[in-house]
Amino acid sequence: MHDKLITLKEITKVFRVGEENFTALNGINLQIESGAFMSFVGPSGSGKTTLLNLIGGLDVPTTGDIFFKHTKLSSMNRIQMAKYRRENIGFIFQTYNLLPVYSVYENVLFPLLLNGSKEKDARERVMNIVSKVGLSDQIKKKPSQLSGGQCQRVAIARALVKDPLLILADEPTANLDSKNSLQILELMSDLNEQYKAAVVFSTHDEKVTRYVRREVGLEDGEIISDKQ
């Protein structure tokens, strides 16, 4: 039995678009357990990214409450939200967003430095995670010298290195070919088993849905399915 990591209660998110209100999420109730490996699936505009934003503490709901374990996110201020993200959340982006002037090693090291670690104390941890994603021989290379698949591996290592409880991955395979996509998904699945960090994808890639253990379907801001 897994603990509840994230709980969403009656979440609504309304955006002001010009003179009109646009409801991106409507009455969402959802629980995400520790160690989950799941995806939000749906067409563009269904509310996948908005949901990731709310869970990741990048935005606040219009109504409803989000709990991280037993802490209410909506009662946090901007600085507390930043701390919540820094300590608990790892992000993986579709376009990798690696820092171009830094090497593989330095890109992975970066979140640990943000958390206040010293470089010499973090070295072993970084080397270990880089080895886990299979890039030990590329450690000194810059992102421009790597393939798309390798860049996404670096992004995964960067998300995992601070040992977060939750990783949010927005369309992580969208920029990769089939072979690389499958390799990345297998890697993430393995790491999910090893590190026990919950992984939440937002995707409409069918390959992803074959790997996840739970698939939440979204349409027009509402949950239309929740398959285990």
């Binding site: 990214t49 579709q94 002037v101 830094y102 090291l109 943000l114």
Partner: protein, 433 residues
């Protein structure tokens, strides 16, 4: 973290080289300009002080009020007593030198004893004969002598080289000084020209003659009398010190005047003035300070403007990095702080390199100088023909402080846009690449 960021700055030429170059060039220009301006202006102040104004000056007020007429009858008596009083009642940092400033006609006879040439001159009498004379050292008369020697005997004279040329005078020439004595009578006394001096100041070289103080006292019947006591301070002391020293002496003079030396006339009223009270120096110093501050201010403003834009460009270039750091949980304040530290780092580095370039150029102008004799020839300014810059600690400070300030402020102003960035758009922005 800071070291990590510095590593990034140094690797990313597009975000390092431009602001670094701006700071370096700006600081080098400010250091050079300030050094040059300080050199020219302070050189003029120093020269004026050494030649005839002193940093401080004790003078009889009736003489000072009409000094363009050289009214020797208003000179101050009791020379020895006055020296003792000054040494006792003023700062030990001040070195006092008595002078007589006089005006007369110089008549140059030909072989028959008839007038060959004649001209009015500006005369200064000072201690030229004492061994280790502080006046000779201060005016660097040894170096200024282009021909002949310093006076050693009774009634010997130094003459400006251009003046000697105009009067067709050479060494050994007997000339007659025709003027007015202390008591208003006509005096005519012979002097032998034993040296020709060139101060490099056109106004002086064309008009001035120097004689020993004791000879002047004899010629003008001024035993134990001088027109001026010039006080000299170490050059590192500021104008503020002159003002304080002047105030201090004047307050003590008031007490002394209650029981003055018996040789003083009833209406004698010695006053202390500083160089700033003479020859319009105060307004010149004010103008100079305003110009110098304006130059530094304009350069600082321009640097801020350019560095602000450089910061905006860098912000665009690093848009992804900033978004990523916000998403990863770095607070807006910390992000701006690190950018400020980056600005500080570039500011310090640029300022140091700028100081090396600017300082080297200033040092070159200090050692070699710039000959502007043709420009100054008709100006009458008490300024050396060869103007020199001056390497000073203040010059470097006036370059470094604006350099660092501009770099930090420019970066911070540019980074204020970070506050406007909403975290809720980060996913969308970062995915847009």
């Amino acid at each position: 973290m800071i070291l990590f960021l510095f590593r990034g700055i140094l690797r990313d030429k597009s975000r390092f080289l431009f602001p670094f170059s701006v700071v370096t060039i700006g600081v080098a220009l400010v250091v050079s300009l300030v050094g040059f301006m300080e050199g020219v202006f302070m050189g003029m102040i120093d020269m004026t002080a050494k030649l005839n104004a002193g940093h401080l000056r004790l003078v009889n007020k009736p003489f000072y009020d009409e000094e363009h007429l050289h009214p020797l009858d208003r000179a101050l008596a009791a020379q020895k007593q006055t020296r003792l009083w000054l040494e006792k009642n003023s700062s030990p940092k001040i070195e006092w030198s008595p002078r007589i400033r006089w005006g007369a006609l110089i008549d140059v006879p030909n072989a028959n004893g008839d007038t060959k040439s004649q001209t009015p001159v500006v005369g200064m009498a000072l201690d030229l004969k004492s061994p280790n004379s502080s006046e000779v050292r201060r005016l660097q008369l040894d170096k200024s002598l282009v021909k002949g020697q310093l006076p050693r005997h009774f009634n010997e004279m130094l003459m400006g080289s251009s003046l000697a040329n105009d009067l067709e005078v050479d060494l050994g020439q007997l000339v007659t000084v025709i003027g007015q004595s202390f008591d208003g009578g006509l005096v005519a006394d012979n002097y032998v020209v034993v040296g020709l001096v060139k101060f490099g100041i056109t106004a002086m070289d064309k008009k001035m003659v120097l004689i020993d103080l004791t000879d002047a006292q004899s010629t003008f019947y001024m035993e134990n009398m001088v027109t001026d006591w010039l006080g000299y301070l170490p050059s590192f002391l500021s104008f503020d010190y002159y003002r304080i020293a002047k105030k201090n002496i004047n307050s003590k003079l008031n007490t002394w005047m209650k029981n003055p030396p018996k040789d003083w006339a009833k209406d004698d009223q010695p006053i202390a003035i500083s160089i700033l009270d003479q020859q319009n120096m105060k307004s010149m110093v004010t103008t100079f300070t305003i110009i110098k501050s304006s130059v530094v201010g304009i350069f600082t403003f321009l640097m801020i403007l350019v560095l602000w834009n450089a910061g905006v460009l860098s912000g665009i270039h690093r848009y992804g990095e900033m978004g990523l750091r916000l998403a990863f949980g770095e607070s807006h304040w910390k992000l701006i702080l690190t950018l400020g530290i980056e600005g500080l780092f570039i500011g310090i580095l640029g300022s140091l390199v700028g100081c090396i370039f600017g300082g080297s150029f200033t040092w070159y102008l200090q050692e070699v100088g710039l000959n502007m004799g043709d420009t100054f020839a008709k100006s009458g300014l008490m300024i050396n023909d060869v103007v020199r810059a001056r390497v000073t600690l203040g010059g470097f400070v006036q370059g470094i402080v604006p350099g660092i300030f501009a770099s930090v402020v420019g970066t911070l102003v540019a980074s204020l846009a970070i506050f406007k960035r909403s975290e809720s758009n980060l996913f969308r922005e970062l995915e847009a690449g």
